[in-house]
Symmetry: C2
């Protein structure tokens, strides 16, 4: 079957999609049976389309022209951001067109609205490229693992953060130095805040949580902690205890609730996620029948992301137009657990004056809140300067730990806010 495609946005990903559609049309047709015809492209700066072979393809500055072109069956929204992307997508639905997007932020804020709008006219909204770029993780979760209940997902969803943490772990850099290197090498946006503060991971994590819990999740309920407070000392102490620090997006579903959280996490060094280095992404999924599976690949970049967009086009070409696949199924109402209810093991790094009785006082306070210690290391003794004491707790409820720490951080020998990292 033939399918007419319009691409809004001639940037990195849009350019990649145009490149695949102009160079690989025959390959795709011969292997999938779907003949994808690029019919229309739009960008406010049409100079971006120079250098592509767009013979016979309509080029517009105004996306509205593309949205009203009757030859366009599928619209690829590749401009990012909330508006005008949202408006374009809603208009595409009104025109009876399927939409493919790589826009995780828009899905995180307006997923339910867009799902409903697509369903009301019987078209599809697809977004494989929005999470983990070239890794077909949406397909794996919705289709490959469709027979089992998904219990938990642990993902390295942000290549910038993983690159920075890899440099801190293996090259001994501090956060700031590693960030500069990431920017230099083109692995980080400027400003890099969405990445390093964890929000980009939160957007992707919310999408995965919505799929796994069949529930509407509000972004404000997602606990988000970035990697800016992770120091090289933390990386070293973690390594000494057999862990690698990764920024994880975590989803865990329970009968009536769901955990959705983003934070730097100590991953045991023999866990596959610990071996995922540099700008690569990976998603570890535990499901009832299938048990553990892991998906690894490039989470960003022009061609991997464009490949995911084009795979979605092919899927639409292959599927039953009379039974469109819903973008999300929201037929459950699991509440998001507040972070205080989460249970985890914790890594604590205290910065304290090296005086007798310090550890005793700290452990007494922790014990009173039922937080028990699994192991302890104390670095460099020095009577005058503050030293680091690193504690690893047994599994405990975050609220109990927080309550103990608010007391500990008041002690006169504690010289900095205690560093807290969760353990996988």
């Amino acid at each position: 079957m033939t399918i007419g495609v319009g691409v809004i946005g001639g940037g990195t990903v849009g350019g990649g999609v145009i490149s695949i559609l102009t160079h690989s049309r025959e390959h795709i047709k011969s292997t999938s049976g779907v003949d994808i015809r690029l019919v229309h492209v739009a960008d406010i700066d049409t100079r971006k389309f120079q250098g592509f072979d767009l013979d016979g393809v309509q080029i517009s500055e105004d996306a509205e022209e593309l949205l009203h072109n009757p030859s366009v069956d599928v619209v690829c929204e590749l401009i990012g951001g909330i508006e005008p992307a949202r408006r374009f997508i809603l208009e595409a639905f009104r025109q009876g067109k399927h939409v493919i997007t790589a826009n995780k932020m828009l899905l995180a804020y307006h997923g339910p609205e867009l799902t409903q709008a697509a369903a009301s006219v019987g078209v599809e909204l697809r977004y494989e490229a929005a999470v983990a770029g070239g890794i077909p993780i949406i397909k794996a979760i919705r289709e490959g693992l469709a027979a089992s209940v998904i219990r938990s997902v642990y993902g390295i969803f942000n290549g910038t953060c993983n690159y920075i943490l890899t440099r801190m772990t293996y090259d001994g850099l501090e956060f700031g130095e590693a960030l500069s290197q990431a920017i230099e090498r083109g692995f980080a946006e400027t400003p890099p805040d969405l990445d390093i503060e964890g929000h980009d991971t939160a957007h992707k994590c919310l999408i995965i949580a919505s799929l796994c819990s069949s529930s509407v999740i509000n972004l404000k309920d997602v606990y988000v902690e970035g990697i800016t407070r992770v120091t090289h000392a933390d990386v070293l102490y973690a390594k000494e205890m057999g862990y690698i620090i990764k920024l994880l997006g975590i989803v865990r579903t329970m009968d009536d609730s769901v955990e959705v959280r983003v934070h730097p996490t100590l991953v045991p060094e023999d866990h596959l996620l610990a071996s995922v280095r540099n700008e690569f992404n990976a998603v570890y999924v535990l499901s009832e029948a299938t048990d553990a599976t892991l998906y690894y690949g490039r989470g960003a970049g022009r061609m991997p992301t464009a490949g995911a967009v084009v795979a979605d086009i092919i899927d639409i070409g292959r599927r039953n137009r009379n039974a469109p696949m819903p973008a999300f199924v929201f037929n459950a109402q699991r509440r998001v657990r507040p972070i205080g209810e989460v249970e985890s093991r914790y890594y604590l790094r205290l910065t304290t004056l090296d005086r007798p009785g310090v550890l005793g006082k700290v452990c007494t306070i922790l014990g009173a809140k039922n937080v028990s210690i699994a192991s302890c290391i104390q670095k460099e003794e020095h009577e005058e300067r503050p030293v680091h004491v690193v504690l690893m707790t047994h599994t405990t409820r975050e609220a109990s730990l927080r309550s103990a720490l608010s007391e500990i951080d008041q002690l006169d020998f504690i010289r900095e806010k205690t560093q807290v990292l969760r353990v996988l």
Copy 2:
């Protein structure tokens, strides 16, 4: 939509499928919209169905009854082996029913015939469970990566072999000891020949090669070497040089040819495949747009395999019945490269008397065939007993290496056939 399912075979996987369909019908319906009704089960030993809640499900000794039941839309063939599985599947197609199978051996021998038979009546033949059990690798290759040309696939497809090699690598066991342990722990069939001689991996590799090359591949053209000749000494020397030995199924596509081979392979220890331990499987795929992706999970076992079968049922329920997905597309004619044409780096372990001039003679013969040496280690000096000399070559054509080795193994100081392993 409602879909009626018949299961032939009440063994490990069949029982798992029945268990999922009886316990998770509501979950599957609510998340996928597909209502799967188990209507008929068959096994020559119907006692296998005791212990399942099969109220309202027809039970037959004779699979023909199931194949002619008009309420059955999809037949799951889960008996394995060539006949009568092949006959049952062909009859199912004649009755207009879709078929799902986990039978890699049957697909390896009769894939083209079955593909053609399904296409001629417009039904689907699906086989996600046949390769790498719980890992949705068929879906990833056919759909997730549909936009790119797949250049190469390196897979750990056999859990038994990976378990044995893991024990040899980390517990210092010889092959025979590790095999006994695998049998004891239920990770190996008895007799284990199909696994340890590499044939099971070859069946799966042929399926992947057919998908990636769009060509009919004959099993007799697949180079197959199992793990029975790998010694603990090889595992140790490989480790010393920074490699882990894995049994890989390898597919590489070129314009007019395809490499399909199965053999123990030295994998660099920082490669993700090297971290895949015990009975787990993993598949590493290099494709043009998407670059590297890896898929990891349980390659066998009741529930992971059954989960893959049920995911295929759900997919059939969701798809366009007017445009069935072909099992394989055979519209190219890439020839399989004979192993002699393959290029690789090689690990050579010579067993030789420790005399002056040995290395010189060996290297002269290799050099005359244009095989150059990248590194060399010699273990334990001893004037009387034979010693091991381990050589790592640069990339060379296998035919040249074989020709040199046939001379080397004639030298009077060489005491055993030289061990040859390929390097990733």
